[in-house]
């Protein structure tokens, strides 16, 4: 853990350039975040890597790249879906200097916050380096980037709060099926090529472009509850407690984390990593290949449509791996029985098999987008307004992804050239539900700055906020 903290800290402070899009839910660059994570049809240059490679050619410069300077590009999202600052103040604040004593009504309200499971999540993504080279349209554009993604979410089952608040009366059932956790830290080295396609639907399209990215993935840490259905506790007569366990957890860690497993099936194969120091370039615990493919079309009358599928592929984890499983039913009727206590301990911990390998899908996502640019005349409404809409559909629930459809809409308004962009947008559905994004952007010629939050409601009514998200970035363009 110490190594993890050190590594994350070092990475964030010294080499973070964060703006990549990831999965249907993952953190985004500041521009798209301010538009409610809307970016499929309007991403440009290196910002399009990971979203729609066809948009790489949509750049107003020959070269664009991002570095740590002048502004480190950072995007962090964290929060819960169940507890606001007001809730925290109420339940964890004091009454006359003393801890609050929870009445029955308080307990009922607190427990209801966990209805369906209390989600705690955190997403971070950063680009160590990205570069775009835009050549003649007949040749196309090339891009390269190194992106890191740290994603994690934990769903606290309501049964836990129910147990803590109400205890365990007889003849009750506590289901832990809503418990879940996902976390990983992966890095991809992405090579992107995009070019315009001529001679196809020319009568309908102003421009049609296609792009493809090939990604080499390195995984440094992975932990996921693959199976959590069928886990529950039943209480019966004589305070008897029956545990029903049915879970599968997979994990893998880079040697850097010095994780030691206890193999319950073969003690001779206990992992025994040597301690190693944190480094921004640790040895991977898994590797894989991924592909992005996308198309973008500019219609007449300033309309743009976009279609992409990102992260087709998988990662095979084969270093410091463990698959922990538990399945069965265990009844506790005698706590004085050493055998029963041992059985609880054994079955709660499950069976861990270490040293094998397993494969996880990349957060494959279908991305559809459309945008229209309005050019207003002076006297009616000034400047230009770009309105965009996205539909993101994940194909799995890997970290950063969700099979719940997310729809977003956003607008970017610039009063005049040289005036900061004002952006706002809304996101609906998906894993996290409604969000209101807001941000500003400054185009200073060869340098672009962006600042955004995905949760404007947190600023407008912070005591009701459940989330916190901030993104800022910069891009050089020549």
């Amino acid at each position: 853990m110490k190594n993890l903290i050190i590594t994350l800290s070092v990475s964030i402070v010294f080499c973070v350039n964060i703006f990549a899009q990831y999965g249907s839910e993952g953190s985004t660059d500041a521009r798209s975040m301010s538009l409610g994570k809307t970016s499929n049809a309007i991403s440009q240059g290196v910002y399009s890597i990971g979203i729609n490679p066809a948009n790489l050619i949509n750049s107003n410069s020959d070269v664009d790249f991002s570095t740590v300077l002048p502004l480190p590009h950072l995007s962090v999202t964290a929060g819960t879906n169940f507890m606001t600052i007001n809730d925290i103040n109420y339940y964890f604040g004091t009454v006359n200097g003393q801890p609050r004593y929870l009445t029955d009504n308080d307990k009922q309200n607190l427990n209801s916050l966990f209805s369906g499971g209390g989600l705690i999540f955190s997403n971070m993504s950063f680009t160590l380096f990205s570069f775009g080279l835009h050549l003649d349209p007949s040749i196309g554009s090339f891009g390269f980037s190194i992106n890191d993604f740290i994603e994690g979410d934990l769903t606290v089952p309501q049964a836990l709060s129910t147990l803590a608040l109400y205890g365990n009366p007889q003849n009750s059932t506590y289901s832990f099926d809503d418990s879940k956790f996902n976390a990983w830290w992966i890095r991809n080295y992405s090579l992107t090529y995009s070019r315009e396609i001529k001679g196809v639907l020319d009568q309908y399209l102003e421009k049609l472009s296609a792009g493809v990215s090939i990604k080499y993935y390195q995984g440094f840490a992975y932990a996921q509850s693959v199976q959590t259905n069928g886990n529950y506790i039943q209480t019966g007569a004589n305070n008897q407690i029956t545990l029903h366990s049915n879970y599968v957890i997979q994990s893998a860690f880079s040697n850097m984390f010095n994780v030691k497993y206890k193999d319950t099936t073969n003690t001779s194969s206990d992992s025994n990593n040597t301690n190693s120091k944190g480094t921004p370039f640790p040895s991977p615990a898994g590797t894989g290949l991924g592909f992005d493919v996308g198309f973008s079309a500019s219609l007449f009358n300033d309309w743009t449509v976009s279609l992409a599928i990102t992260d087709i592929g998988s990662i095979t984890w084969n270093q410091n791996t463990a698959v922990t499983t538990a399945s069965g039913q265990y009844t506790v009727s005698d706590l004085t029985s050493q055998a029963q206590r041992d059985s609880i301990k054994y079955n709660f911990k499950g069976n861990s098999v270490t040293g094998g390998s397993f494969t996880t899908d990349l957060p494959t996502t279908l991305r559809i987008g459309a945008a229209h640019k309005f050019n207003f005349n002076e006297g009616s409404f000034p400047g230009t307004l770009l309105v965009a809409m996205d539909i993101n559909q994940g194909f799995n629930d890997e970290p950063g992804n969700s099979t719940k459809t997310r729809v977003s809409i956003g607008g970017e308004w610039q009063l005049a050239h040289g005036v900061p962009y004002i952006r706002t947008g809304f996101s609906f559905g998906g894993l996290l539900g409604f969000h209101w994004g807001f941000g500003l952007g400054i185009d200073a010629g060869s340098l672009e700055f962006n600042l955004a939050t995905m949760d404007m409601q947190s600023f407008a009514a912070p005591n009701s906020a459940k989330y916190l998200s901030v993104a800022l970035d910069s891009r050089w363009m020549f």
Partner: protein
């Protein structure tokens, strides 16, 4: 007034900043985990115990039978032995004599005299362990007389015993001869009517005394004792011999006056040990078996007629069995004495027959008591002040409990009622509070005493916050247990069969209304 659209961004940002500032976040500064009450319920014990689990086989308690129907506890005492030697029987310590015998003083002429063997014994052969022959001679003649006394039946150092005497003129002489180590063999020429006598052949001589001269002799025997003797020894009481020994029944001793046994048995084996092949018979007369407790109270074992004098004859071995059918053995063992007294008069050769006896002969009694666990038991304290250390409870934070309960459910398949009293005390053994539990005995068939079904008793110990606080200060739980069978005091008592396979199902569960205060967990 015309709105300057170029100021729109400033206006918009201002509006948003106003929104932000207006919605000032009320950041918590002094976070404390709330407190609440919660009911925690846990199963504590759910086990089935057979008596076999509880009462382990030990020195005095064993199990007879294997099936659940016939296995039974047997309380078995040590085997006690008493040995009575019969050396008195071969001590003919009465004296015998033959006096005033006229012995002629004529060369080559002898006189035969018979000295009676004491107590009328008739010996075919014997080995003297001790004894003396005393001879007295009186010489009325004016000349010295030499006398030679031969004992044809007494062998000393491989030769016939001979004694010489020289009696002075007009004088007397005496001699005493020890017989230890001599053997006796009835001379072949000794007539049947003289077989109870020791034969002496005496001759006298002088230098010049005339024919018709004589001397007078008297012979005495004393302290005859044999290491072995064959022949006839008259009936003889060896006297009353007594011996006592401690009755060791382990913890069962604590149930005196409380337990009433249905079945009990005393086995006695009596054996007459002798290296000879034809020993004499022996009569054990008025054998008394008396149980004595430490307080001095006594109870005698009596036969079915009510007599405490037990008389029997043995010639070799004898087995006596005292059961509830022929004695008061059940009462005797229920009395659970601490000491057993055995006393009897041993009479050798009660039938006046012939045989062989040696000083190695002995009579050995071996006795043991046994009883099965079919009994009636009045209320009896079986465990007192058993201390249970319960000091390791700090981590449980019992003092934070608003209330607590422990539910003890017992399905009792053992035909014993039980009462538990639990006293909680502090480190100085000062009383804090106490509670009691009772568990009723299994249902039985009153005719056979056998368990027919378990009886379920549910006890709930309810603690309020004050008791919970006291429990938090408790260091020891002192437990006393009383047990009793149903109708143990009625007449006749209701017996129950307590079998090793009798079982008791104990289910204990509890709960605590706990005041969650995480500040106390720091």
């Amino acid at each position: 007034m015309n709105f300057n659209y170029r100021n729109f961004p400033i206006v918009l940002v201002s509006i948003l900043l106003s929104l932000w500032i207006g919605g000032c976040i009320d950041l918590p500064t002094n976070l404390k985990v709330p407190q609440w009450d919660v009911d925690l319920n846990v199963p504590l014990v759910n086990r089935s115990y057979t008596l076999n689990d509880i009462i382990k086989e030990q020195k005095y308690i064993s199990i007879q039978g294997t099936s659940s129907a016939d296995s039974i506890y047997v309380l078995q005492s040590d085997t006690y032995s008493q040995s009575a030697d019969v050396s008195n029987f071969i001590q003919l310590n009465a004296t015998s004599s033959s006096t005033g015998n006229i012995i002629p003083v004529v060369n080559s002429v002898s006189a035969t005299i018979y000295l009676p063997i004491p107590k009328g014994a008739i010996l075919d052969n014997a080995i003297f362990k001790s004894g003396f022959l005393s001879l007295y001679a009186a010489n009325p003649n004016p000349e010295v007389v030499d006398i030679l006394i031969a004992f044809p039946g007494i062998i000393q150092n491989g030769s016939e015993l001979k004694i010489s005497m020289t009696v002075p003129a007009s004088g007397q002489d005496s001699v005493q001869t020890p017989l230890a180590g001599c053997t006796y063999l009835l001379p072949a020429n000794q007539t049947t009517q003289n077989q109870g006598y020791i034969q002496l052949v005496i001759s006298g001589s002088s230098i010049s005394l005339p024919l018709g001269s004589f001397v007078t002799m008297s012979i005495y025997s004393s302290n005859f004792s044999f290491s072995s003797a064959t022949g006839y020894l008259p009936e003889q009481s060896l006297g009353v011999k007594s011996q006592q020994f401690s009755l060791n029944l382990g913890d069962a001793q604590n149930y005196g006056n409380k337990a009433s046994l249905k079945y009990a048995e005393l086995d006695m084996d009596v054996k007459y040990y002798s290296p000879a092949s034809n020993p004499f018979g022996i009569l054990v007369d008025s054998l008394n078996i008396i149980g004595v407790r430490n307080d001095g109270s006594q109870l005698a074992l009596k036969d079915s007629t009510g007599s405490s004098n037990i008389t029997f004859t043995i010639n070799g071995t004898k087995h006596l069995s005292f059961t509830q059918d022929n004695s008061n053995i059940t009462s005797f063992i229920s009395f659970l004495p601490s000491t057993i007294l055995l006393s009897a008069d041993y009479i050798m050769n009660p039938s006046n027959s012939t045989g062989t006896v040696t000083n190695q002969d002995s009579v050995v009694f071996s006795t043991n008591f046994s009883t099965s666990s079919i009994l009636a038991l009045q209320k009896t304290l079986i465990t007192d002040t058993t201390s249970i250390n319960i000091t390791n409870q700090d981590s449980l934070k019992i003092q934070d409990a608003r209330s607590a309960y422990i539910n003890v459910n017992v399905q009792n398949g053992i035909p014993l009622n039980a009462w538990l009293t639990i006293n909680f005390v502090d480190g100085g053994y000062n009383h804090l509070f106490s509670d009691s539990l009772s568990f009723l005995a299994a249902n039985i068939n009153t005719a056979t005493g056998e368990v027919t079904s378990a009886f379920t008793t549910n006890n709930v110990i309810q603690l309020d916050s004050a008791q919970a606080a006291k429990l938090a200060g408790a260091h020891y739980a002192i437990v006393s247990i009383n047990v009793q069978t149903n109708d143990a005091s009625s007449s006749p008592a209701q017996y129950v069969a307590i079998r090793p396979n009798d079982s008791i199902q104990v289910t204990v569960y509890g709960g605590v209304n706990y005041h969650v205060n995480t500040n106390d967990l720091k």
